[in-house]
């Protein structure tokens, strides 16, 4: 119906391009992109790996070594400490040697949760240069 009317109009009057099909197409595209859009908020902790898999000794820049045992115990200087004491230890070390980083060595069976907690505490203590390795 609409098309016929359009055709009748042609002689004499100005007719623009019919935008409707283009609009249909664009709308479809729009709906596709709205549906497929995923606004992910990915959060992560950056930790470096000491010379990945080559097995080279860790850089001497890491002065504080924090060990995590398979049972989730945390050892600093061969002394077992609580998770809440990690930050204080890191702050003390950081005040003495501000340029040095921290090395977290976890047992291969330790949980990722405890590793992330320790690294989080270290970063709260002011040291951003954290490297992480696991025993085999």
């Amino acid at each position: 119906m609409r098309i016929r009317r359009h055709k009748r109009q042609r002689p004499g009057e100005t007719t623009g391009i019919d935008l409707a099909p283009m609009l249909d197409f664009v709308m479809n595209l729009l709906i596709f992109f709205i549906i497929t859009a995923v606004f992910t908020k990915e959060f992560g902790l950056a930790m470096s790996r000491p010379s990945a898999s080559i097995g080279a000794p860790a850089k001497e820049a890491a002065s504080l070594l924090i060990a995590i045992t398979a049972t989730g115990d945390i050892l600093i200087d061969e002394r077992q400490v609580d998770i809440r004491a990690v930050r204080a230890n890191v702050e003390r070390m950081h005040a003495l040697k501000p340029e040095n980083g921290v090395m977290v060595v976890a047992d291969a069976k330790a949980g990722t949760g405890i590793v992330v907690e320790v690294v989080d505490q270290v970063r709260q203590g002011g040291v951003q240069n954290v490297s992480f390795s696991a025993t085999r």
């Binding site: 009317r5 859009a37 990915e42 291969a108 330790a110 907690e117």
Partner: protein, 134 residues
């Protein structure tokens, strides 16, 4: 159509609507990021200092039993490197986020991070929930 009471055909002017819709379309095209979902959900550890990763587009999940998932399928540790290489070639700007379950073994986490680095992606982060709620 309702406005056709007069003799001529007067349609609604679609141009402004089209402008608006095209703008919306361009916005969605630009903001769309094709994240490579791992395909499983894991119990993420929480951290106060977790940073927002702008282009954390390749996600690797490690389940509590040590299974590695990426690109919606379970992969072997040896498959991580070629898969990362392939995805890295497709979109070189991508970074990798390794999302380990709270109970996932740290040894697997370290090995996966190594494989990702060998696959050519230097920027690897360990996924966490931001406990600060930012």
């Amino acid at each position: 159509m309702r406005h056709q009471r007069q003799e001529e055909h007067v349609g609604i002017d679609l141009a402004p609507m089209l402008d608006f819709v095209l703008n919306l379309l361009i916005f969605f095209i630009i903001t769309t990021s094709f994240v490579k979902e791992p395909g499983v959900s894991v119990d993420r550890p929480e951290a106060l200092t977790a940073e927002h990763r702008e282009s954390g587009n390749i996600l690797i999940a490690i389940r509590s039993n040590g299974d590695i998932w990426m690109d919606r399928r379970q992969v072997d540790l040896r498959e991580v490197r070629p898969t990362v290489e392939r995805l890295h070639v497709e979109r070189p700007d991508d970074t990798v986020v390794v999302v380990g379950d709270k109970a996932a073994p740290a040894g697997i986490l370290a090995q996966v991070m190594d494989e990702v680095k060998l696959g050519g992606v230097e920027e690897v982060t360990v996924g966490a929930l931001n406990a600060a709620g930012k």
